[in-house]
């Protein structure tokens, strides 16, 4: 990927990421988040991590975003009309942001960690190499994550289920506990 394209896409990703927190309308924020994730996916593809890039589009732009959208609609989030939050909260927030920025600067400042444009070996980021890594070097982490996700699925089904004869899911939860 030519450096100017890399910088252009990076800038686009940062601008749309800023859009997520600057917009007042939650739906607009969500669309900005989609734009961010898409740009990052294109960056992945440009850097030869093709499989990861397309999976990012499928999983995030397709499924996770729709989930976010349903959450926004279910919580009935409205357009923010004016400044909200306490002064102390804002102060604390700005302090934390400044701390995080300094931290990042000190971590990334050493010259050996700075971005270099290098050529990756042939086959880097292909499905075969990705699967090889997942099923050899990171097998335990991979399997443990899948068990964690399975537990989350079972847990959410247990929370949402209805016992026969009751219409209210909350009643079911009470009897279950």
């Amino acid at each position: 990927m030519p450096p100017f394209l890399y910088i252009f896409l990076g800038a686009l990703a940062i601008v749309s990421a800023l859009g997520v927190i600057v917009q007042r309308n939650p739906i607009h924020s969500l669309l900005a988040l989609i734009a961010t994730l898409m740009t990052v996916a294109v960056l992945f593809i440009g850097e030869d991590a093709v499989v990861v890039g397309f999976l990012q589009i499928i999983v995030y732009a397709g499924a996770i975003m729709v989930l976010f959208l349903f959450v926004i609609w279910l919580l009935n989030l409205q357009v923010e009309t004016g400044p909200t939050g306490h002064l102390a909260l804002k102060l604390f927030g700005s302090l934390t942001a400044a701390l995080l920025a300094t931290e990042l600067f000190f971590i990334l400042a050493p010259p050996h960690l700075q971005v270099k444009f290098t050529h990756e070996p042939v086959g880097y980021g292909s499905l075969a190499s990705l699967a090889g890594k997942l099923f050899t070097d990171y097998l335990v982490a991979f399997e443990v994550t899948s068990v964690l996700l399975l537990a989350a699925v079972v847990g959410s089904v247990a929370l949402a289920r209805r016992l026969p004869g009751t219409d209210d899911p909350r009643a079911a939860r009470k009897t279950a506990s």
């Binding site: 739906i27 607009h28 669309l31 989609i34 093709v50 499989v51 397309f54 999976l55 589009i57 499928i58 732009a61 397709g62 499924a63 975003m65 729709v66 959208l69 349903f70 609609w73 292909s126 499905l127």
Partner: protein, 396 residues
């Protein structure tokens, strides 16, 4: 594509020492335009006319037959009319998103054509992750549909958008899982690689490779219809309940974008199934002439795809719409578990017969022919028993 660009540069068509990247970009751009303007758009247009005619004949009506021979030019007339209409943006709508949404849907419709394997050398880009690319870019539709539904600021549109999102996201899972059996058998994600793993004869197609792939092909077809919002899964735009669903507020060419993407998607569905299960463009090697071979392959591919398109028209004319709970039950309680069984079953099959089982191919193909024969026999039986007059002339 790359060889084509290299040949073009070597032939000196762009002068001596042309800038390679620029030439490549121009060639890709021109080829994309050709594929889009000469194949995708006319297909989407003509198929609207074909569908209305087929649909009408199945329901014993006549259908559009006035504009041009057999009404063939109806799609052009409709197209010109719809483009000339006023482009209305409602006052209460979120204007920017409202205007943007049709473009996103069109984008999701145009991008898959880049990896469409028309023949052994007619393909814009033979990506090594072709089928993954196909799944990823068609998933973008959901963003456009939701945006249209929300930005219209209309309850019908919103309900249509939400239904569509739930439907697309759910059916993406069985559709994605049904691709894996084929990937397991070929070990590649490239469209051309998958087609090269099959033969021209039906018993060498992946459809008949083993019982699991046969089921997978059927699930993939049904899930694709659901993702494309086709009857019997057209809840997002159920015209008797929701006017036109997420497209209610749209008019003029923006509405045309939605309907064009919807009909054009039929070709994409057909192409995916043809590539994965029906042997793609595979044709027996009858001549050494490369051009003639490519034309024959193109015809083979198109015939298979058009048959699947016809099948979806047939389904649309025959089946009633399902309810939303039936839709979700079918997906989560039946399609998803069956897809997992298919995947594991195929993995075991590949472990036992790494090179495939040819005898099974013949048995499955014979079984499919028997099924078709029984179906035709039943149809004839009911036609006779109902004692209705059948007009077989399709060109009234």
């Amino acid at each position: 594509m790359q060889t084509l660009i290299q040949n073009l540069i070597a032939s000196g068509a762009f002068g001596k020492n042309p800038p390679r990247d620029l030439v490549a970009a121009i060639v890709v751009f021109v080829m994309s335009l050709v594929v889009f303007l000469a194949i995708a758009l006319p297909f989407a247009g003509i198929v609207t006319w074909v569908e209305r005619r087929v649909w009408a004949r199945i329901q014993s009506r006549v259908g559009p037959n006035r504009v041009g021979p057999q009404g063939f030019l109806q799609w052009l007339a409709d197209g010109v009319k719809i483009v000339c209409k006023e482009d209305i943006v409602p006052d209460e709508a979120d204007a920017r998103l409202f205007k943007l949404a049709p473009f996103l849907v069109m984008l999701a419709f145009t991008l898959p054509w880049a990896v469409m394997p028309f023949s052994s050398s007619l393909i814009l880009a033979d990506l090594n992750v072709g089928i993954l690319y196909m799944t990823a870019v068609t998933a973008l539709t959901v963003v456009g549909v939701l945006m249209a539904g929300w930005a219209s600021n209309n309850k019908w549109s919103l309900i249509g958008g939400v239904r569509s999102a739930a439907q697309i996201v759910s059916y993406e899972i069985p559709a994605g899982l049904s691709i894996f059996p084929v990937v397991l058998m070929t070990g590649t994600l490239s469209m051309q690689g998958i087609i090269r793993g099959q033969g021209w004869a039906p018993q060498h197609w992946f459809l008949f490779a083993n019982p699991f792939t046969f089921v997978a092909a059927n699930i993939l077809y049904m899930s694709s219809l659901a993702e494309a919002n086709r009857t019997p899964f057209d809840l997002p735009e159920a015209e008797s309940e929701l006017v036109a669903g997420f497209a209610t507020e749209y008019s003029g060419w923006r509405y045309a974008c939605f309907s064009m993407a919807e009909w054009g998607n039929l070709f994409i569905i057909g192409a995916i199934i043809t590539t994965l299960f029906l042997g793609g463009w595979q044709f027996p090697h009858v001549t050494n002439n490369v051009v003639a071979m490519n034309v024959l392959e193109l015809i083979t591919f198109s015939v298979k795809v058009l048959f699947l398109v016809f099948l979806s028209m047939w389904i649309r004319a025959t089946l009633p719409r399902v309810r939303i709970d039936q839709l979700m039950t079918a997906c989560w309680k039946y399609f998803v578990p069956i897809s997992f069984v298919n995947m594991i079953g195929t993995a075991v099959w590949v472990a036992i017969w790494p090179d495939g089982n040819v005898a099974m191919g013949y048995i499955m193909f014979a079984g499919a022919i028997a099924l078709g024969a029984i179906f035709i026999q039943r149809v004839i039986y009911y036609l006779r028993r109902s004692q209705m007059e059948v007009y077989l002339n399709p060109t009234i």
